[in-house]
Amino acid sequence: MDLRFSEEQLILRDVVARFVQQRAPETEVPRWFQANETFQPELYRQAANTGWIGMCVPESLGGGGFGTMDAGIVFEQLGRAPVPGPLFASSILAPRLLTQLASQEQQSRLIPPTCNGSIVWAVGLSDSPRGFTENDIELVSKDAGKGLLLTGRKRFVHDAPAADRLLCTARSAQGTIFLAVDLRLEGVRIVPHEGFLSSLYDVEFDQVEVGDDDVISRSPSCWHDAEVALEVTLPILSAYKVGACQRVFEMTVEYTSERVVFGQPIGRFQRVQDHVVELTNHMDAARWLTYEALWKVDSGRTYTAAVHEAKALASEAYYQVCNYANMVFAGPGTSLDHPLVPHTVTSRTLYQFLGDPNYHKEKMMDVLFPMPSS
């Protein structure tokens, strides 16, 4: 057993940490969220140059050939800011789905430009506001000549305006299919959602024609295959939330010493201490189960239950950590300029992303104790 990162991993962590401090400083990030500038092209380009986009992609396809734990280390640091935008979708989700579902030709056409930053992806899978199911897909695909005609919408797509392409599901006469749609095609409209959320859009399709070469998969099992493919990405997303929790923890602990009321630092008040205690417990639970899940993926162990468990815990932890931090920061923590605000908003937005905690707990239980087939 060894519960420490390797020397190389510590170096990687420190490099990303410096990048985040310099490129996504806490003085700037709240403004990005207010101005809806959560896609920072220059930051994205630098991340691509450094080799973090597609870092888990095999080197033969232009990626970095890194392990899942390494990706977790990078995303943990990105979560501290929190660095917003399509980094997770482009760097992890889309390449993973493409390598599992797409043809060799599509992979060699689409993945290398993804890794060098010239194709940015958005991903739209389930269209349900609350669940993560195949049944709720709203985009409809009809055969039309050599290609397809798309009508309907993809819902709650993260960072759609930043993306060149949308990797998405659609309903066809034969069942669910996966597509890689050029978002600049005529008839595509990106509609922002307003609310207590960050960078969420519906992508509407009005009789949009796409070619057959943009169909990634027509396999009858493609939804299931995608779910399986997504499993290894879940602990990387969890690591992002762990990093976010860690930063919120640090700013909260610091504030308990700085902020003086009734003649003493608020950290001396036991009620305030209680909030930080619970915050810490959520953070550590998410942290250690996420690390273990990352390790299980990399070491070839059975990991399906563990990644769902980590995702459930990390989403819940980020949400609760922000709650407890708001109890401590009180008024100032709700000012739009405060660095806690991007975290609070992100914790809500990501709570649903790729399935909420209840969904992942159910998936965990289904793996551990399969229901009898009816």
Binding site: V253, S257, Q273, L289, W295
Partner: protein, 404 residues
């Protein structure tokens, strides 16, 4: 990182093989004996005798306290060996710190750190070798979480201390050989600067032990009436007891860590597979699955944090707030589980079953929730300590003392 507890060095692998075979042989005599918990309500004398014997055998090998030097009765081994031993005994649903119901797990590291050479050579070997049973005797009727209000007084007279006072809610079913107790050695002195630890032969005249039945089982009241104790048995220096307590309390507050986990949820899962009602097997019912998922996740988190605590402690780099965090969560999860078990099992969740280890007995699980919220300090003192270790509102963060 590597979460595989059996990812051994070649030397560890050889040692693991040796320990595993040795334990399989030693456990062969267990037969149908079911393990009792620390304050057992079962009164299982045959089981107690078996575990005392097991402790003696382990002690002879130096495996009860592997990292304690041989001259003090330990194994003279390193932390790699200890980690193997912890893991191997956990396979038999016991832990190295609780082979039988003695508090040597706390007393040995404390005496090893604070005792003088003569004390270490005299006091430690019988404890390390599992030959004696020792209780920790701290709480007083007026004290509770406020340990420092000690009114049990040890008065120095010549070469002896004469102890008078009363301790409550201590020990377990089986009569001790020694009492490890904290006493007031300077009644007029400044708070925290007036206490000392002393190792008392429990058979000394004037010691009276009176059973005190409680929800979780049997504890005791200990009376000291003019108990004469040689001055050589005061450990860590007169009036220096509060500093000695830092080591003691770190271990009492779960700073030791563990790889053992809680077997109760595993039994609940098996029960839910094997039992059902008109709606089908319990394990297939959605409400049961939701509750069970939370119990499984909580159990996993707790075991992970306890393992983290053990591993970093053995690296001599203890997580500052790790012990008190695990302790707080262990008790909160124990409380949650007492309700979860009942939510799933109904009346059956309250029933005693002597055919299983007590730690997995539904009766015990339902008692454990409310009954283990106080030992060694309340949930509220847990959180106070936690806050100190996080450095909340303080210039300096309190660190965790080394306990190895």
């Amino acid at each position: 990182m590597n979460f595989d507890q059996e990812a051994d060095t070649p030397e560890q692998a050889l040692f693991r093989q040796e320990v595993r075979e040795w334990l399989d042989t030693a456990m062969a005599g267990r037969g149908d004996l079911k393990w009792s918990t620390q304050w057992s309500t079962r009164g299982n004398e045959a089981e107690y005798a078996f575990r005392r014997d097991l402790a003696r055998k382990l002690g002879e090998k130096g495996w009860m306290f592997p990292t304690i030097p041989v001259e003090y009765g330990g194994g003279g081994l390193d932390v790699d060996h200890q980690f193997v031993l912890e893991g191997e005994i956990a396979r038999h649903d016991l832990s190295l710190t609780q082979v039988f119901y003695t508090l040597a797990r706390i007393v040995v590291p404390v005496v090893n750190q604070w005792g003088n050479e003569e004390q270490k050579r005299r006091i430690l070997p019988p404890l390390c070798k599992g030959e004696v049973i020792c209780w920790q005797v701290m709480t007083e009727p007026q004290g509770g979480s406020d340990l420092a209000t000690l009114t049990t007084v040890a008065k120095r007279v010549g070469d002896e201390y004469i102890i008078n006072g009363q301790k409550v809610m201590v020990g377990s079913t089986h009569y001790p050989d020694y009492l490890w107790t904290i006493v007031n050695t300077n009644p007029g002195g400044e708070r925290h600067e007036n206490v000392s630890w002393i190792y008392v032969d429990a058979h000394t005249p004037g010691v009276t032990i009176q059973p005190l039945p409680m929800i979780m089982g049997m504890k005791n009241i200990v009376f000291f009436d003019d108990v004469h104790v040689p001055v050589e048995d005061l450990v860590g220096g007169e009036n220096n007891g509060w500093r000695v307590s830092t080591t003691h309390l770190e271990l009492e507050h779960d700073g030791g860590g563990s790889v053992s986990g809680d077997p109760a949820v595993d039994r609940l899962i098996e029960y839910c597979k094997d039992n059902g009602d008109s709606m089908g097997r319990l394990i297939d019912q959605p409400d049961v699955r939701r509750i069970l998922a939370d119990a499984i996740i909580d159990g996993h988190v707790l075991k992970m944090l306890q393992t983290r605590n053990l591993w970093f402690r053995l690296q001599r780099d203890p997580v500052p707030y790790g012990g008190v965090q695990a302790r707080y969560l262990r008790r909160m999860i124990g409380l949650s589980n007492s309700q979860r078990f009942q939510q799933i099992l109904g009346y059956s969740g309250l029933l005693k079953d002597l055919n299983v280890d007590e730690a997995t007995d539904f009766d015990y699980i339902s008692r454990r929730g409310p009954a283990t919220l106080h030992g060694g300090g309340t949930l509220d003192t847990d959180r106070l300590q936690f806050a100190r270790r996080l450095g909340l509102g303080r210039r300096q963060r309190e660190s965790a003392p080394l306990t190895i």
